[in-house]
């Protein structure tokens, strides 16, 4: 009786790096997509620059100048628009049954999705950073009062987008149970908007809601880096970095657990 030996799985890290590069190349090739997102970011900034100027004309928000609020929004929107949404392709592959064929590959399906999304993130965030910076500068009429905050916000923005991408992947695993992850993704996105302070800094929220938001990952995702446009505070940047790291560990753990449950579910339901 002869036994068939499977070839050894490739080392995960080099494979992951290669997949990240594939994701970067794929995203870079989709110029219309990331250029469209850049235009979208600029248009959002145009809308809110008008909104904040209109608010300023009617008395304004105490302690918040229109100029700084434009920069705040440039950072939060940069992260929100820049984070890829791997749940879309995850959902499509689960629903079409394509996942059954992909599962046999040596690199786990979820790892492939995360690596490709990370590659997409690097390209999209870079393109959006340029578009957002130029647009915010022109619309705000200069840099924020403490421009060093932008230098601190840059790495934190990339880290926040990476955390957001992992959250979207977690949402994508929901397809195994719900058959459609999109409504979950909408709720996640809107929780980001509301509890992350996408449009309004959390300082403008009612006390109870601000206190609640700060216990969630959303505050670190958007408001944390965004607030650096309102004041370059290294302590606040360090707190945001620590929170992002902590939530990253939690979400990675949840992904690992969710993936193992999803495989059981797939086995039970069929690919």
């Amino acid at each position: 009786m002869s036994s068939t030996r499977l070839p050894p799985a490739p080392p995960l890290l080099p494979a992951f790096v290669q997949l990240v590069r594939v994701g970067m190349r794929q995203t870079f090739a989709q110029r219309a997509s990331w250029l469209g997102r850049s235009v979208f970011l600029v248009l959002i900034l145009v809308i809110f620059e008008r909104l904040w100027r209109a608010v300023d004309a009617e008395g304004g928000l105490p302690g918040f100048a229109a100029r700084d609020l434009v920069w705040y929004l440039a950072i939060t929107e940069w992260i929100a628009i820049g984070m890829p949404q791997p749940h879309l392709s995850m959902e499509a592959e689960v629903r079409s049954g394509e996942i059954a064929a992909v599962l046999a590959r040596p690199v786990p399906w979820l790892t492939v999705k995360l690596a490709e999304a990370l590659g997409a993130l690097l390209v999209r965030m870079s393109a959006l950073a340029v578009a957002g910076f130029v647009a915010a500068w022109l619309l705000a009429g200069g840099l924020p009062r403490e421009p060093w905050g932008l230098a601190l916000a840059l790495p934190l923005g990339f880290a926040a987008a990476a955390l957001g991408t992992l959250c979207y992947a977690l949402v994508g695993l929901g397809t195994f149970w719900l058959g459609d992850a999109t409504p979950l993704a909408w709720v996640f996105q809107k929780l980001c908007f509301l509890l992350g302070g996408l449009i309004l800094p959390l300082a403008l929220y009612p006390d109870w809601l601000r206190a609640f938001a700060e216990w969630t990952p959303f505050a670190a995702l958007l408001s944390g880096p965004g607030c650096l446009a309102l004041g370059a505070d290294p302590a606040s940047a360090a707190k945001t970095a620590a929170l992002l790291l902590g939530w990253l560990v939690v979400v990675l753990g949840l992904l690992r657990w969710g993936w193992s449950r999803a495989l059981v579910r797939l086995d039970g339901a069929g690919g």
Partner: protein, 261 residues
């Protein structure tokens, strides 16, 4: 005409039945969408706690604006989700199966898919429209008519964005982004937009037709305003149908062997 309408009605009925067959998923999607809308609107509640009005727009006006847009999205999700990936379906040659059939292609495509989440939008939209009209029942028939116009324009904007594929080929995510632009712009007070941007928002990105025109009618009711909203909807819809028809003439088969059961 009557048989076509009966056919489309049957298609819609089948879609709705199909959505309802998975009762748990149906309710989950509808409720999550309702929650999604509610969460998004919370930002405006917080905003108007701090600011009483923006260029004359108050929270009540925002109820009306969001009400129309939410209803429009629900209308689109239930009746026209099939147009969401129209560009990709053209690239994949999926129209091959539809072209030889005796019914019009566009309604068949639009009704080929339906999203249960749209029911959550419809409910949220109606609640906000109730608040925006200060619960005046006399205004409801007109509001409903305008809401249907908003939905039609939004669905048509999706068709138009996707129809670019007939001339430009592979579009990546461009149609979806153009569609998102329409939704995003339609949810902000029209008073913020002036000059060239305002022209764009009533033509290229028809956000003005989805949200502002009906909301303006609610702010200042007039026969002229109503006529403008209805006329603009009709003109835009006919234009999109014409563009789609022109594009269809350029369609080339995807040469894919597939079975459309």
């Amino acid at each position: 005409m009557r048989t076509t309408l009966a056919y489309l009605g049957a298609l819609l009925g089948t879609n709705v039945k199909s959505s309802l067959a998975l009762r748990g998923a149906f309710w989950l999607q509808a409720v999550l969408m309702l929650l999604n809308d509610l969460l998004f609107f919370c930002v405006w509640w917080i905003f108007f706690e701090r600011v009483s009005s923006v260029r004359g727009w108050t929270l009540v006006d925002m109820y009306a604006l969001y009400g129309f847009v939410a209803f429009a999205f629900g209308f689109y999700a239930i009746l026209a989700t099939g147009t969401r990936d129209l560009a990709q379906r053209v690239i994949d040659g999926e129209l091959d199966a539809l072209l030889p059939q005796p019914r019009a292609v566009l309604p068949r495509l639009a009704l080929s898919r339906s999203s249960a989440a749209g029911w959550g939008d419809i409910v949220f939209g109606l609640v906000l429209l109730g608040l925006g009209s200060q619960l005046d029942p006399l205004r409801w028939p007109v509001l409903l008519l305008l809401a249907l116009c908003s939905g039609l324009v939004l669905a048509m904007s999706c068709v138009l964005a996707n129809s670019l594929v007939f001339w430009l080929g592979e579009l990546d995510g461009l149609p979806r982004q153009l569609f998102e632009f329409t939704i995003v712009f339609s949810t902000y007070p029209s008073a913020l937009f002036t000059g060239g941007l305002r022209v764009v928002l009533f033509t290229l990105i028809p956000a003005g037709l989805v949200g502002y025109l009906p909301a303006e009618y609610l702010r200042r009711p007039s026969l002229a305003g109503l006529g403008l909203a209805l006329g603009a909807t009709l003109a835009y819809s006919l234009f999109v149908v014409w563009i789609f028809g022109r594009g269809l003439k350029r369609y080339e088969s995807g040469n894919r062997m597939s079975l459309n059961a």
